[in-house]
Every structure is written in structure tokens, then in C-alpha cells.
Amino acid sequence: MLISERDKKTIDACRFCWMCRHVCPVGNVTGRERNNARARALSLSMVERGVELSKDIVANVYECALCAACTKECATGWDPVEFTKAVRLEAAMNGVTPDYINKMIDNIESTGNPYGQTELSEELKAEIESLPKDADTLLFLGVDARIKSSRSAVNAIRLLKKANISFTVLMNEPDSGYAMDTLLGKADETKRIMTKAAGVLDKYKTIVAYDPADAKVFLREYKEWGIELGAAVKTFTGFVNELIQSGKLKPKKLNKTFVFQDPAVLARDLEETQEAREILAACGETKEMLLYGKDTVWAGNLIMNEYMPDVMKLTAKARWENALSTQAEVLVTASPSEYEVLSAVKPDNMELLSIEEVVLRGLE
């Protein structure tokens, strides 16, 4: 395979090691041996030793959430996410990418999002139209919120409006490149999308990335590619917390107990865990569930929901079980993707709110 020597070394280090098995959110719910870093590495090490890189092996590479729980767990410092992404690109170059992945890649090329949809909800369009066309601060909603979690996008806008700050949202927002980066890794296509987005976003002083997945590519992958992004990038949770701490948002304490689902990207890749907790502390009581902060358990995402919906139900249910065991009243998310997958299997005896919904309630 035309992957880096570092990736080959990681594959050989991981192929006989199971020490991160217990934290793999996919393997833990499927019970399938193939769903862990060791299994992916073993199969790929065999490819390095003459086994064909088949569609079957590649399909398993796409069953990884890229959540980096294994990376966080590795006492030696190996990063299975890196070789997983590298092999996705390798598979594309060899024409063995699964058809359902190719379909999403084609969708990104033709519509700017992996879901192949172009129309925003009327409610979201109205909210965006209500904002000034120009401002120094851009709220970047991202494809998941715009296409699949309109309610989240609308509430994010409504919350920032409450702070009486000047900001805008683009009706035709460029694709950040996060979805292509997820599906193909460091491909030329990914760079092209990111470069195009940077050109559009360059005029803003501040970009508030609503989706941690977008924040991550802005802050990490763009730099790796050498793509200059003139604007300062802030996470939505970080920005909202600033608004609360500066008194621009003054939520009242609700008589509720919250437990926060740390998005894996936010907690592990961007190392942001406290801001959301400070927001929730301003709005009520907080509890913690099993494995939180940087140890968080990924609850699912919308891209994998396209081709592994049954597994996404299981990952979300497993996280609900963790949340329920805290006896908190509300599970709070900070990722539109996790909000949607958790919402699909929400139990009757616990509430699910996005973090902006919590603050909006506190402002009522």
C-alpha cells in the first residue's frame, strides 16, 4: 500500500494488541471482532504481506468511527485513526471503495454534502434571512446541522441573537471539507474543497463553528494542508461560554440536572471539555456519566448513519444507558450529529437537549 512508513509501523504495532478494545464504541455494541483497531490493523498487515486489499477489508475500515478513543487509550502513543484514514484514500486509489461510500463522495462533489440534499428547511432559511448579510463574525453551521439537524441550526442562530451581537450566517455556506476528510482523508479532493472554503471564509474576523467536526478541520486539517484561514476559529461552546461569562447572555438556573455528552472531536481532538460544563453550570446542576471529558464515548454520527443505521442505534442506546445510570434529568449534546442519533432512540424517562436549547430555556 502507498501509505506512509509511520502508518505501516502503526499497523504492525496494533495488529496483535487488543488493549484499546474496551473503549471502541463500535466494537462494544456490535460484539464483532472485526470492529476494533487490532482487527483493522491485522487485516491491513496481511495486505502488506500479500493479501489483496479487498472491498470486504475496506468495508471494515469504514466501520471505524474515527473517534480516537483507541488513540487516547494507547499507552505507547500509536494512532490507529491515522492509518484508518490513510487506507480509505488507498482504497479509493485502488478502486475498492464501497459503493455506498462512493455515493456519498459523489454527493459531496455535486451538492456540497454527503447526503445529496440541497434544500434547507423553510424555518432555517427564514432565520438566516433575518440576519444581516455582512458581519465580522460568521456562525458556520456545517452540513450536518443545515441538512440533517435543522432544529439545531435554528436554535444556534436564535441563541446568538439573544446576545445582541453582530453576526451572520451564509445562505450558501461552503463545505468545510470535514465530510470528505472523513470519507477520503488527505485526498486532493479534500484539499480542493478546503481551499475553496477558505477563500469564502477569509473575509471574516471570527468564525464560530457550530459543529465540532467543522471546528476540528478548520483548526487542524487546514493547518496540516497549509491552507490559510484568516479568521479566528472558535467552537460554538467556547463562544457561548464567553457570552455567558461576559454577561451578554444571562441564563437563569433551571431546576434541572444535566449530564453532558462530550463530542469526541471536541474533547479529544480539540481538547475542549470545560466550556460546555461551565455553560451547564450556569443553567442548572450537572452530573457526570461513565467515561466523560477526554474519555468520552462516541454516541454515533450522521455519516455512518447513512450506511450503518442499525449500529448507530446501538451506539446511541449504549450512551443513553450511561446517561440514565446517572439519574440526571437531561442529556445534553454539543454536536448536531450526536443530537440526531441520540434523538432517534431517546428513552421516555430522560430529556435530550442540545446545549443551545438549554441556554435558550434559561433565557426564557
Binding site: W18, H22, G31, L42, S43, S45
Partner: protein, 474 residues
Amino acid sequence: MQQNEFLFDMILSELEDAVGRENCSIREIDKLTHTVDYFWLSRMWADRGKRMPEADFIVSPKDAKETSAVLKIANYYKIPVTTWGGGAGSQGGALPVAGGILLDTKRMNKIHEINEDSMYVECGTGAIYKHVEWAVNEKGYSTMHYPSSLNCSTVGGFLAHRGIGVVSTKYGKIDDMVLQMEVVLPNGDIIYTSPVPKHAAGPDLNQIFIGSEGTLGVITKAQMRMYVQPEVRKFRAFLFKNLTDAFRAGRELLTKIKPSVMRLYDEAETISIIKKIVGVERKGAFMNFALEGVAEIVEIEEKILLNTMTKYGAEDLGSEYGEKWWEEKITFFYPGHIMDLPQMFGTMDTVATYSNIEKIYWAMKEAIETNFPMARFIAHFSHWYEWGCMIYDRFIVDNPPQDPHEALRLHNQIWNTGVRAALANGGVVNDHHGVGIKLGRLMKEQYGPAMQVFEALKKQLDPNGIMNPYKLGL
């Protein structure tokens, strides 16, 4: 497995009917990832680009009922069944060397009950032990089973191979930690062992199936003991002049108190591992203890420990080493922290009485170093009883043959030599990793005519010989 295409499809459809289509796979990726466990030979074989034997069907039943259905199908068609939990065993016990059905237990991972009255957790045997530990931790308890493979091995895997954790001296081995088990017999019957582990209602059914490595059935559910978390856990390390003094001190200590951790390292391991991990550069025999439980009692135990160690001339090295070891007790087993390919290595753990243990150590060391000058031999003694203790002895060959057949031959010669030295001096084939395909050939050498008891059980329970063929010497 030699089957024609039509019959293969017929069997596949029956298995799909038993466990659901999504839980029965003939995919390449599922076969491939169930071919290599922690057994050095399987790793070497794969490393050399050779394919290990593959199962024909990978099935994942969700409970005893589905397991029963699978075993009935297997018995009818006389198809081998190999049970796979975490696949982290070092003896090749989970390798589907005869093809057929690979029964992966990890869907049987439910925590069914945490019984605080009777202090046990009932779980499916496919549960990762770390998950069981987390579940009881949330209630303020612990399983007190902390092996190096805690993160990746299943409850069933530990039971099948008689596993052990680092605090075993106080809390026991896995076979001391079980109350009742649910077992699916090879004919598909679902049975339950006695509701309690201590009784006079005949022999102990638990102990027939614990350590049977999937040759007599499949353990599908187990009630595992849990313990109150200790108020304190205190460490103390000592340096003895030699192993003999350390053995005497350890033996005497266990007539008075029960530490949770007792780990004695031979000189070679004292120098190489302890120096590397915790920075000690001293010759002698390093020994690390942990005492735990109610604070007042531990305080008294600590005095007894110090007095006993002083009596045998041990140098007190304080608590820092032990605390660091505790933090890193699993780190030892990540890549880069432990032996790995291209090295050849193996842990020839055995257990014996105090009368024999030091004799075995020297006999195994001499046998390995004399017959295989290319091999290094290191050892520690990490699980202690009132009557004896175990040796965790390892051989390491830095540059084994590149040819896989030659490497296999040398590997097995070293093992034969080491284990036979243990057996000749009062040891056993293995202490806590099991037998698998690695050591099956040596079982008769240990048991002699007693082996017929196991063979009779096998013949009665598994007359078609479908359960995990070529393992355990059965």
C-alpha cells in the same frame, strides 16, 4: 471443513436461522480477524505472510438458547466448534485450527444483575472484564480481578483458561471468584452449576468447566464475586540478597497475613524490567507487596510485613516503587513495552509448593540456558499461596529463524524443554494461561493415567469430538 457448495449453503442457512443472518458471517474480514490470537506462533505465522487456519462460519449467538441451537447444528453435521472470547489468549486456545464454526461470545455481554446482598455480579461470559469492573465500580465495588489483559479479555476467556489477576494472593484466582455458571453442553442442553460454590452435593461442576477451554461446552453466563473497595492500599518494596531469602520471607508472611500483591523478581528480571520501568539499578531479588483493606488492619499488617522482611535481611525500598508499578501495571503490555516480534518469546508459567518452587526455577533456567544458548531466561513469582507460589518465567530469543517452519520447531523445542523441567521437579503444565494447542501434547506427561478422567468426560459430553479440537490434549 470439506463440504460441497450445496451442503455449505444448507448449513449456513441453518446457522443464520439460529442466530440471525447479521450474526452469522462467512466474510473474509471476519474469518481473517479470528485467525490470530496472542499465541506467539500464530503471530509469527501471520508476520511471515502465511495464513493461519480459518473458520468457515463465524457465528455470534446472543445467549444460551442461541448457543444451544448452534451446537445442535454442529453436532448434527459433525462440524468443529471453536469458542472465541477476546482472542487475547496466549496458548492458541481460541484458534479455529480445524475450521468449522467459530463461536464468538462477545454478543453475550450483558450485565444481568449486581447483587449487593450476596456480593456478586451476574453477566454474560462475552462481557469484557473491564466493563464488568466498571459496572460494579459504579456501585462502589470491585471484581478484584486485574490481569494485564483486563481491557481486552472476556469473562468467559478468563474462566476457560483459569486466569488470574495481580491481587490474587488476597482475593484469589478466577476459579475462586465464581458462584454459579450457565453452560451449554455440546449436545445443546443448557445446564446450571450448583447455586453456590461451596457444598457437599458431589464434585464441583464449576471446576469441571472452568479451565476446559471450550472442549466440554460453552460457558454462557456466570456469577462473579465482587468485593468492597479497600479503604487503603499500601505498597512496600524490598530488595533481598537472593531468591532463597525472599521465598522464606514470603512463605512466613503468609502464615500471618495476606497481602494482595506479592511479586518477587529474579536477578535478571530485577535488572532488566525493574530498571527499565521504575528506574531501580540494583542487583538481588526485588519484591513488591501491597496490603489493602480496612485502614486499622492494614496498619497492623504493615508492621508484621516490616518485621518479617527485616528478619530475612531485606532492604526496605519504601512505597514509591510499588505505587508507580500499580499505575503502570497494565502499561507493561502495550506495544513497545513488552517483547514483540521479531523476538521469539514465551511465558512458561508454572506453580508448585515451597518445597519445589526454587528447585523448579533453577531447573528451568538451566534447561533453557544450557540447551538454547540463544535464549535469555527471566522470571518473577507473582501469585502466592500458603503452600507455594507460581513462577512467571519467560524465555526470549532475539533473533529466531526467519523460516516459519524452523521458528515453529525451535519454539516448541524450547517449550518442551522448559515445561518438562518443571514437571520433573513438581510443577504443572501451566499456572494461569491455560493449555490450548500450545501445550496440549504435554498434558499426558503431567497427568499420566489421570488423563483418562478428562478423556472420559470429553467422550461422554462430546462424543462427536466437535468442541475445540486439538486443544487441552483432548
